[in-house]
Subunit: 344 residues, 2 copies
């Protein structure tokens, strides 16, 4: 329902003009005399005229809304990204329509379909952990739908992408553990096929290599659903803690896995960091007041949202098809706190 009752024809009637003249005047067309423009604009202003965006959309074939696909909104990292997205979209007159995959490929496909069916002008997406096949996006991309990937990206589609420097973030975290005297560093992460998992694993591996430490395959644990279920994280952790040669530190690769591991370790009364140190990717504002304060790799989520949206809008607004794409990598931040600082 649009509660701004006044339309172009109302103005036309009131001023004894035609609808087309009013439309042109409102759009500052060169065809219209200054006098008429002034008349129309004043009347419009005084009567609080607002063009009906739905009529405009129908006519122009664009909706001024962009679709967002994330795993879940109830997650510090994503809510911060969305915050960034909204700040740009909103100031440019775009709505956002947010959908959640809950890490399910099926839901991702459904959401993407729903969004295009709702006539979005562009799509911002972070793939679900389950997603291995991006045909549903490839098709739309080929048809000309502007798409920008952020966070979990796909190599298969050539378009703008924004990610955190996952490699360096993981490298820094692992390096910090090594320099703090930890030697048996485990890694709990999402399925191996997601981009962030690969990049973070590579950083972890490189740091170990640079210290001349061989990778212990028993120390690498994958959570099929990216830690969505506590059970899978618990299972991974149990496997690590029952190894003959137990790890003395754990590097976790995602927000949810990190906090779940912390919570389970506490429940098991495992001393952090003396028995096992913990560092992980997380964007929680509470890292400081956790027990123990949690060493963390922080991603510039808000900035990621801003950058992704700017890129998307640049494609949407471009007159000619965009064929040159950028791959923006934003720096992560390493916060060292007590969870990785041995006291004994």
């Amino acid at each position: 329902m649009n509660f701004n009752a006044i339309t172009i024809s109302d103005i036309a009637r009131a001023l004894n003009l035609s609808a087309s003249t009013v439309s042109k005047a409102l759009n500052d067309s060169y065809e219209i005399s200054e006098k008429t423009k002034k008349l129309v604009l004043e009347y419009a202003r005084d009567n609080n005229y607002r063009p009906n965006p739905i009529a405009q959309s129908l006519k122009k074939g664009r909706s001024k809304s962009i679709g967002i696909v994330v795993s879940t909104i109830d997650n510090q990292f994503f809510s911060q990204v969305i915050n960034g997205i909204e700040s740009v979209a909103y100031s440019e007159g775009y709505n956002v329509i947010i959908t959640q995959t809950h890490e399910s490929f099926e839901l991702e496909v459904m959401n993407v379909n729903h969004l295009t069916y709702r006539s979005i002008d562009g799509l911002l997406i972070s793939l679900s952990t389950e997603t291995q096949n991006v045909e549903h996006l490839q098709k739309l991309h080929n048809q000309g739908l502007p798409i920008v990937f952020f966070d979990r990206v796909s190599d298969a589609i050539d378009t703008h992408k924004v990610t955190a420097d996952n490699f360096k973030g993981a490298y820094d975290a692992t390096w910090h553990l090594l320099n703090s005297g930890y030697k048996n560093i485990a890694h709990i992460t999402s399925p191996a096929h997601t981009s962030i998992t690969r990049e973070r694993f590579a950083g972890y591996k490189k740091a170990l290599q640079d210290k001349g430490i061989a990778i212990n395959e028993n120390f690498i644990k994958y959570c099929k659903h990216g830690g969505k279920d506590v059970a899978e994280t618990e299972a991974a952790l149990n496997e690590l803690l029952t190894l003959k040669e137990k790890p003395d530190a754990i590097f976790t690769a995602s927000d949810r896995i990190t906090t779940t591991v912390l919570s389970i370790l506490r429940k098991l009364k495992v001393n952090i960091p003396n028995e096992v140190a913990l560092i992980g990717f997380t964007n929680t504002a509470l890292a400081d007041v956790l027990n123990p304060p949690l060493s963390a790799v922080y991603q510039p989520a808000f900035e990621m949202g801003i950058k992704a949206t700017q890129m998307l809008l640049s494609i949407i607004k471009s007159k000619r098809p965009v064929t040159e794409f950028e791959n923006v990598v934003l720096p992560t931040e390493l916060f060292i706190r007590e969870s990785t600082l041995r006291t004994i």
Copy 2:
């Protein structure tokens, strides 16, 4: 952009029917023969026909989208509410458009205007802490825009409302402190004019009265911006900690204030709970692993979102004007953890 190119007239042309016949067939009108319906529906299915929602909106005067106004999405409580809202809205074919006030009255008015200008079918709103005047909503409500308040509601407008049982939540928290031996209980909260502040304060007061303890006005501190700025929470806390008669416990009234107070107390090396106990409203999933584990009043945020949306959709779908309104109050949950359990 709608990438489902096929339209009603495409179908009409292909089947040698008129657009109106096709439209009626698709809408399962009794006027159309089974044979034609079958023909049309099959063709539509096979060609993946999707009605253009924008054209439908324009014609029917409704957009199938609902507006949401919250203070900020980057907050556990609100992201959980939105999660609930989306789960219902989405399954009923509605989009949601989320806007944030960042606790500013001016932004709230802007957002509400923007939303109506985007032709929403209904509005779900939690007022900003600054909001004292609801004329911007009153006007729309009078014009017939369905509105449902949740969390921070307004008495001035008669419509459906969903809140947590703020009184009981506050009463329970205070009562628990009293029963744990705390006597000088401070209260840090949002501005006195918001509904949640009043209700939570009333619960706090009643618990003290029931124990025969007089209210100490020095123990009540208000944060003008609901704790949005750390500085104001810090100031409130400092005032409490420098009183001659210091409080031995603090009851905080909102998510942000609660976590900020915890963080400042830790920074000041105040022993919780032996020097000062802390309990507060918060929906963080991390309460268990904070230092110390935080006693908390938890609100059923997801359920609140669901209920509010169901109520809103019932107004939207109602054939006749709705004049009987419900005031739903959902129970809070009290979690007792170490931050309120003296060890010495």
